[in-house]
Structure formats: C-alpha cells, structure tokens
C-alpha cells in the first residue's frame, strides 16, 4: 500500500504530459485500437459539445487523509494544493449567477480545506438546489475537529456521496488503506443516526463503488442490491443509491495498470465495452470542473491531466457561461472510461 502520492515519490506518472503520451502511444498509435476521437466520429458525436450546464464541480484541494491505490487525483497527506478563500470568493460569485442547479464539492478530502465550512455556509446562502460533498467517510473519524461533520452536513442539508469499494473489510482496506473499512462503517452509522440514508429521508446519502482492480464495474442495480443487503445484515447500515464508477486509466490507477501488466487488457476492455448511448450523456456534457487554483476543465479527470477547457475563458475570475457553453470538449483515450458499458460519471451510470 502506497503511503505517498506519485508526486511526492517523483514518479514519472506524476507528470500529466507523460500520462497523455502513454494514452496516445502503443496500441492507439499503431491503430490496433481506435482513438476516442475516431470512435465518437463513427457514431456522430465528434466534436463532443456541452449540453445545458447543470453541475459545478469544485475541487477545493488535493490534500487527503488517505492514499487510495486507484486515486485519479493522486491525492494524499503530502499534497499541499489547497483552494484559497480568495478563489472561493470568485467561485461564490459564479454560484450566485450560474444556471447550474448542483454544486459538487470534491478533493482530496474537501473537509481538510481550512475554509471548507465557511465556503459551505456561504454557498448554501446562494441557494443551490442540490449540494453535494464527496466525503471519504474516514475523515469524520480522523481527528476530533471533524467529529461534528455529520451535524454540519445535516444543518446545511448537504447531499453526502461517499466511496465504499466493497462491503468486505479485505477489499476495502486493500484499495483504500488499513483500517479504512472499520472507520467508514462507523462514519456511515453516525450519518444514519442523523437520519442520513434512511428510507424517505431528505438527507441524501449515496455510496460510490469503484472496482478494486483491473476490471469494470458490474451492473449498478445488482451491485446496489448486494451492498444494501450486506451492509444492512452485517452493520444495520442504510443508504440511498449506489453509483458504480469505472476507474479511468490516469494517475495512480494508470500506474497500477502498467505495473501489474494490465494496461493493454484494460484498454481493450474499455474500447470493447464502448457504448454509443453513453456518449450522449457523459458527465462533461453537463458539468464544469474548477480546480483548487480556479482554472476551468471539462471534468475532474481533464483537470488532473492538465487539459483546460478549450475556450477563451480559462479561469473562474473571467467566468462567462455563454462563452463557455460554446466550446468543444477536450478528449483523449481516458474518455473511454466514461463510455464503457452503462457509462460512468460522478453520478454513476449514464446509459
């Protein structure tokens, strides 16, 4: 289990440019597999264009208390990139004027940003309809200063979306670190105690499932059934929906694929599972991603690959929704991760 980010380890793959080269070389350069651009040309979706903007996803920093094996952010305790209050203020200005109805806070562990609570309180005043925080759960038990997070979430009616790779301890700890499973269970029970995840509760608690290895997620509905049954029987835990998310071949997951000699097979799987119906609804068609330093991206993955939006507007300080909507979405081979099978997004399947 890694305890340091790729960046801290000075890994070659900490370099976004190197990742993009890998994703364009080999099987894609010699024509063994079609590039993503060619593939979507074949189904009439090139260039990929945004639909109505619905979700603003803000990454408030790459610092995290965990170092998950599959993390596409390469997050960890050693990452110091944190959104400042000044950039948050620029985001708030946008939140007040946007047509988007959902605000999605992610990281890292977003709660570790020292201005996290201030930002949530201010953003709540701006009247966003659905307010998501992507919490890794263990942060709630990581330090006394976070113990009251469930109450804070409840106070602001925050929709909590949490990662839970499996309902068994072994698989969870292997992907996310020793002790993560027990802490996550405790955190879920605390959220349930506040009413989160209970049937008919307006306090939304959804779980995210990522495969813990070089395979694609199974059927979301049947996984949800299995998770619900196991978490209820073993721990009395309830939640609303399970989002099955495909691991995209970037950052630490790409590093794992290469080191375990699974890269080519995985890319074959993604390309073979390409689903034209998923292309129409990929996340980048209704979401904008904002980085800790205020730059704008088509999605969190493009953010990590250093691929900013293809628009005159590049930064939150010059935000212009009309101009931004009139752009072509930036793509590469990692995008196959969002169009495989039933499709994949931060809200689960899309087809």
């Amino acid at each position: 289990m890694a305890t340091k980010s790729l960046k801290k380890r000075e890994s070659e793959l900490a370099n976004a440019q190197r990742q993009l080269e890998l994703l364009s070389n080999g099987i894609f350069a010699d024509g063994e597999l079609p590039t993503f651009a060619d593939k979507i040309k074949g189904v009439g979706h090139f260039p990929l264009r945004p639909n109505k903007l619905e979700i603003l996803q803000i990454n408030v920093g790459y610092m995290c208390n965990q170092v998950c094996e599959h993390c596409h952010v390469d997050a960890g305790p050693d990452r110091k990139e944190i959104m400042t209050r000044e950039t948050m203020q620029q985001c708030l200005e946008v939140i007040r004027n946007t047509g988007a109805h959902t605000l999605d806070l992610t990281g890292g562990a977003p709660e570790m940003n020292p201005d996290f609570r201030w930002f949530v309180e201010e953003a709540a005043k701006a009247g966003i309809k659905d307010f998501i925080v992507r919490s890794n759960l263990t942060i709630i038990r990581a330090n006394k200063k976070y113990y009251d997070l469930p109450d804070f979430f409840k106070k602001h009616n925050i929709h909590v979306v949490s990662s839970m790779p499996h309902w068994t301890r072994g698989k969870t700890d292997k992907q996310r670190g020793d002790g993560v499973f027990d802490k996550s269970i405790k955190a879920l029970q605390e959220l349930n105690d506040r009413g989160y995840g209970m049937p008919d509760s307006s306090l939304r608690l959804d779980l995210v499932y990522n495969p813990s290895g070089a395979f694609l997620p199974g059927d979301q509905a049947s996984m949800e059934k299995d998770f619900k049954k196991a978490l209820m029987e073993d721990f009395g835990i309830q939640f609303h929906n399970l989002f099955a998310i495909t691991n995209l071949p970037i950052s630490r997951f790409l590093d794992y694929l290469i080191a375990s000699d699974n890269y080519e097979d995985y890319m074959y799987q993604l390309v073979e599972a390409f689903n034209p119906a998923a292309v129409a609804n990929v996340m980048c068609t209704n979401t904008l991603s904002i980085s800790w330093d205020g730059y704008l991206y088509d999605c969190d993955f493009n953010q990590m690959l250093g691929l900013p939006v293809n628009s005159k507007v590049k930064h939150i300080s010059e935000y212009n929704e009309d101009l931004l909507q009139n752009r072509n979405i930036v793509i590469s081979q990692h995008c196959y991760g969002c169009t495989a099978g039933a499709g994949s997004s931060c809200q689960g399947t899309v087809a």
Partner: protein, 111 residues
C-alpha cells in the same frame, strides 16, 4: 504464429471465429449471450457455474474470463473457490464412482 498453444491475448480474438463461419458463429454467440442472461437462475449464479465448469474442462481462457466476470459482479474469492471445489468434487466423484465398476468386476472375476 505463437510458439505456445495458449496465448492470453487470443481470448480477445474469440469473436473472430465468426469470420470463417458467419452463420454458425453468430448462432453460437447469440445462444451464449442468451444463456448468461438473468433467468430462473441469476446471472451471478450462472457466472459461478461457468467458473466451476471452466476448471473442470480446464479452459484457461474461460478461467480468465469468469474470474474477471466474478470480480465485476462483486463475487468474493471465497465464493469463487467454493465453486471450483464444487466442480472438482463432481470431477473426482466421477472418477471414484467408477470404483464401483472396479469392485463389481473384481468380485465377478474372483472365486
């Protein structure tokens, strides 16, 4: 031409058998797909049966395919190993039940 009988990369090419006999290949893959759909048995149960049979018929491609299929379905390694034992038990049972034939023959031939 590979210098080994089995190449893991050949599994990806399975679909190509249709190129040399389109009608039969297509019928086979249609049938195959239909078999593994949800039915009186769940797709999950069928995946475990397929894994057990893969071992009994000693098909390395099938073992790769249904181990991955099981992982995708959230099937645990304990469930997978039990399925393999179920297959192995039938296979060894099939050998051992012939022991009765041996006993019969032995008794017939003995005074």
């Amino acid at each position: 031409m590979a210098n080994a009988y089995y190449d893991p990369a050949d599994l990806r090419k399975f679909g190509k058998i249709t190129e040399w006999s389109e009608e039969l290949g297509t019928k086979f893959f249609d049938y195959y797909g239909k078999v593994f759909e949800e039915g009186a048995l769940s797709a999950r149960e069928k995946s475990l049966i397929a894994l057990a049979v893969s071992h009994v018929v000693k098909c390395p491609y099938c073992i790769d395919a249904y181990t991955k299929d099981g992982l995708q379905r959230g099937i645990t390694k304990e469930e997978m190993m039990e399925a393999v034992h179920a297959g192995a038990a039938i296979e060894s049972g099939a050998t051992l039940v012939h022991g009765v034939q041996m006993m019969n023959k032995y008794n017939k031939l003995s005074m």
